[in-house]
């Protein structure tokens, strides 16, 4: 008896310029509208066209939290796709390909594989252009998976509405032909999806989620220099600049971007820049200026594998220690590393509150995997969100001192333009007035004042979240984007009757260590999981607690983990 499966891991491969990324997103949206959960991830080299590109989409009835290794439905737009990914196929997987272009016999497919030869190119060209093969194969895919066509038609309409209206009918026709091609044949495929009830979900990636949160929280100024994988924040903002009256400035470099948002923050506009490691390197000096002048600033750093240009379109969690220690001298900063798109939205929402309340630098660490990995999630809830600008005064008190010593280290702030007073923001060590002061007494007080803010902030922050079985004897520790992968792994382990729990850090610095210490005491085995080579979060924990991890699962191939890698590592622990 064949067990029908109510999920699928779909993968499409071909050259860049084949419209692979866009079809992946469209499929994900399609699934979302069908009440299903989708998660997509992509892999492509650093080229504008050509090279080998793939997009993967896992679709399920329950929340899809990460990429999966085993592929169930492969759409091969070129032969390379089959060559490279044959080994990833489940034994009952299907391959959609164009027999006129790919000689399938050359590859060691299994008998159990479902080989579906469709004249993708012929259909695409007949309706329009070769690039439309992606639409044809999408139509075929949904038919194979047992889903209805109507929502796809609607999506195509929306995708091309406006400037590209002419593309609508031909794409619908092409998709429909792909759809019918399958429907007309009675193909047995083990993976069958069904429309589900839950609606009102969205399909979104962390860059867009963060951006939306930031807009909601009153962002007014964005200065950014493009850099993969952060660039879509720039284009998101540019696309919405008039709708929300945000000034979006593409700068001459990242030095300018960072210094501009310091100017913007000083003047009182909620200001943002976003970049990746290379650009962040150029912002380093200005980070200290924000620290010294206590100017609120929010910086997104979406990580990609270094050193240097490294693997510019791949993913890594390799910049934590860098972000933590960037810039000369010592000053407080906050680091948030959202684990999924919802936490990314919340980071967008809350970063500016933190930055203004504590008058400090907030660094948001994303990485390519979540910056570009779209996920189906519940619509974001921001009903309780309130703007908190901290000690921002609209009038200057008498004898106003911008850097007044206070018990919490936070000094009331007025903005330039406020009448009746003036003050200086100053990158040199300064007194309460902002005037340069080199005395030992003032130095200590000012250092203590600035650092004090970190203690206060730490108290306000929530402890990291514990997932899984509280009493499990195996604990996983991780931060940022590995969250969903580990959660999926825990599900799998549960099926295998292995109890684990998982402590995930979204707020990374200042480090809340209470729950961690408790957990480590209780657990028999602890596994640290990081997508880097030198276990950077492990180092941070060691600094703060003295704990060294015996067991570490580290991956530094430029790719994120798959859940099965976590599962295997945990099984080996036992």
């Amino acid at each position: 008896m064949i067990l029908m499966k109510d999920f699928v891991n779909w993968k499409i491969g071909g050259e860049a310029g084949y419209g692979i990324l866009s079809v992946g997103v469209m499929f994900g949206k399609f699934c979302t509208r069908n009440g299903l959960f989708a998660f997509n991830s992509s892999e492509f080299p650093s080229l504008v066209r050509g090279g080998h590109n793939t997009v993967q989409l896992i679709v399920k009835k329950t929340p899809a939290l990460s990429q999966y290794f085993e592929v169930n439905l492969l759409v091969a737009l070129n032969a390379e796709t089959i060559e490279k990914h044959l080994n990833e196929l489940s034994s009952d997987a299907a391959i959609i390909f164009d027999g006129k272009e790919i000689d399938i016999k050359k590859y060691k497919t299994k008998k159990s594989h479902v080989l579906i030869d469709i004249p993708l190119t012929e259909i695409a060209v007949r309706h329009g252009k070769k690039i439309m093969r992606n639409t044809v194969s999408l139509g075929a895919s949904i038919a194979l998976l047992g889903l209805e066509f109507d929502k796809l038609e609607q999506l195509i309409k929306e995708a091309f509405a406006g400037k590209k209206d002419a593309l609508i009918p031909i794409n619908i026709a092409a998709a429909k032909e792909g759809f019918n091609f399958i429907k007309n044949r009675n193909i047995k495929f083990n993976y069958q999806l069904k429309e589900q009830k839950q609606k009102n979900h969205i399909f979104i990636n962390a860059n867009d989620a963060f951006s939306l949160g930031a807009v909601k929280s009153g962002l007014k100024f964005v200065a950014e220099y493009p850099m993969t994988p952060s660039s879509s924040i720039l284009s998101f903002m540019a696309a919405h600049e008039l709708q929300y009256d945000i000034v979006v400035k593409q700068t001459e470099d990242e030095i300018a971007a960072m210094n501009m948002i310091i100017g913007g923050g000083f003047a009182g506009a909620r200001s943002l820049t976003a970049t990746s490691g290379g650009g962040f390197s150029l912002m380093v000096e200005a980070l200290g200026l924000a620290g010294m002048t206590e100017t609120p600033a929010v910086v997104v750093e979406s990580q990609r594998p270094g050193p240097s240009t490294g693997l510019p379109t791949m993913t890594e969690q390799g910049d934590l220690m860098f972000a933590l220690n960037a810039s000369q001298g010592e000053f407080p900063r906050m680091i948030i590393a959202p684990g999924d798109v919802t936490e990314a939205f919340e980071a967008g929402l809350n970063s500016f509150n933190f930055a203004e309340k504590y008058q400090l630098l907030v660094l948001v660490l994303l990485d390519k995997y979540i910056s570009e990995g779209n996920t189906t999630v519940k619509e974001f809830d921001y009903s309780k969100f309130k703007i908190n600008r901290g000690k921002l005064l609209t009038k200057a008190p008498k004898n106003y001192l911008r850097y007044a010593f206070t018990s919490d280290g936070i000094s009331p702030r007025v903005l330039p333009g406020t009448l009746g007073t003036v003050y200086k923001a100053n990158g040199d060590e300064h007194n309460e007035k902002g005037v340069s002061d080199e005395s030992e007494e003032n130095r200590i007080k000012m250092m203590n004042k600035r650092m004090k803010k970190l203690d206060v902030l730490k108290k306000e922050l929530p402890e990291p979240k514990l997932y899984g079985d509280k009493n499990a004897k195996i604990s996983l520790i991780a931060w940022g984007s590995t969250k969903g992968i580990i959660l999926e792994a825990i599900n799998e382990l549960q099926k295998q009757k292995i109890k684990v729990n998982f402590l995930h850090y979204n707020y990374v610095f200042p480090l809340k260590e209470k729950k961690l210490l408790e957990l480590i005491k209780k657990s028999k085995k602890v596994l640290l999981v990081e997508n880097n080579m030198t276990s950077q979060f492990g180092k941070l924990i060691a600094q703060e607690t003295g704990i060294l991890f015996k067991n570490k699962l580290l991956k530094y191939t430029g790719r994120q983990f798959y859940p099965h890698e976590i599962v295997n590592a945990v099984r080996k622990l036992k």
Binding site: V215, N259, G263, P416, G417, A425
Partner: protein, 285 residues
């Protein structure tokens, strides 16, 4: 009425006695008073260097930033609140060396900012190294055998970069300098004002005497300040006679003019509570 004395600070400048920076400070104060600007609506932004101490000694808002980055900081301020008058003071190392890229891009952006370059042709604060504007052959602690580079000409770079107001002042002539600062600040767009500023401690070539013998006022003759090519040709005159004054001015939209986001009010005055993201969120459904 803003009076000169309103602009005095409790702190007194720490420049070397006789430094040209004193005259530039005096000219800026005079210009601010002459224009009757409210000191709380003026922000003076600097980088690092002797010149960069200036914001501390004028009673307006100030931002003493980092080396070479006064312009991007000022740009952020101006974009966030274009109601403020933003003046950048910078050195020749700060503005024409490490920070030159920002200057050039600021000029082509034509944001309404006044840039005053304290051009002493030396690195003052770091004790006398060569600067991008040091004369060829200048012996400094970093070029004891003489500098071998062609100096930067800030004016010709300004003209080449699309600056809409290009002028040169001289610290020894505060009347002219004040006038240029007033004109530059009133100019709608970016004003580049390069100022010869003798450094009495380190620069023994480009002294007050040196300039006294050479400078003349370009605008005292019939010079057409709307002719770009003439200005370019004229600003290469750097020998026995050196022109000062306004070289070039043209009117065009400022950067802020072109931003519909700023039509109604400055960013900082906009209401940020209750931003409605529903419609955008729906696009992800």
């Amino acid at each position: 009425m803003t009076e000169l004395k309103d602009l005095n600070t409790k702190e007194i400048p720490t420049w070397c006695p006789g430094c040209g920076d004193f005259m530039i400070l005096a000219s800026i104060k005079k210009a601010v008073a002459d224009m009757n600007l409210n000191p709380s609506e003026v922000v003076v932004v600097s980088g690092i260097g002797c010149s960069a101490g200036l914001p501390h000694w004028i009673e307006t808002y100030g931002f003493h930033s980092i080396h070479g980055r006064a312009i991007p900081v000022a740009t952020g301020i101006k974009l966030a609140n274009h109601g403020l008058t933003v003046i950048v003071v910078s050195g020749d190392g700060d503005g024409y060396g490490i920070g030159l890229n920002h200057l050039i891009h600021a000029m082509r952006r034509n944001l309404d900012i006044t840039f005053i370059g304290h051009n002493n042709q030396i690195y003052g604060l770091t004790l006398g190294q060569t600067s991008p504007t040091s004369t060829q052959g200048a012996k400094t602690v970093s070029t004891p055998h003489g500098s071998i580079e062609t100096p930067i000409n800030p004016l010709s770079l300004g003209l080449a970069s699309g600056a809409t107001f290009v002028a040169r002042g001289y610290a020894g002539n505060t009347t002219q300098l004040t006038d240029l600062i007033v004109k530059g600040t009133k100019h709608r767009g970016f004003a580049l004002i390069d100022v010869f500023q003798p450094c009495v401690t380190w620069n023994k070539i480009n002294t007050f005497d040196f300039f006294k013998q050479r400078v003349y006022d370009l605008n005292s003759e019939k010079f057409n300040t709307s002719d770009l090519n003439a200005a370019f040709s004229r600003c290469q005159e750097l020998g026995e006679r050196i022109p000062t004054g306004l070289f070039y001015q043209t009117e065009t939209d400022t950067y802020s003019d072109d931003l519909p986001q700023l039509k109604e009010k400055p960013l900082v005055k906009q209401n940020i509570t209750n931003v409605d993201i529903k419609s955008v969120l729906n696009k992800y459904k």
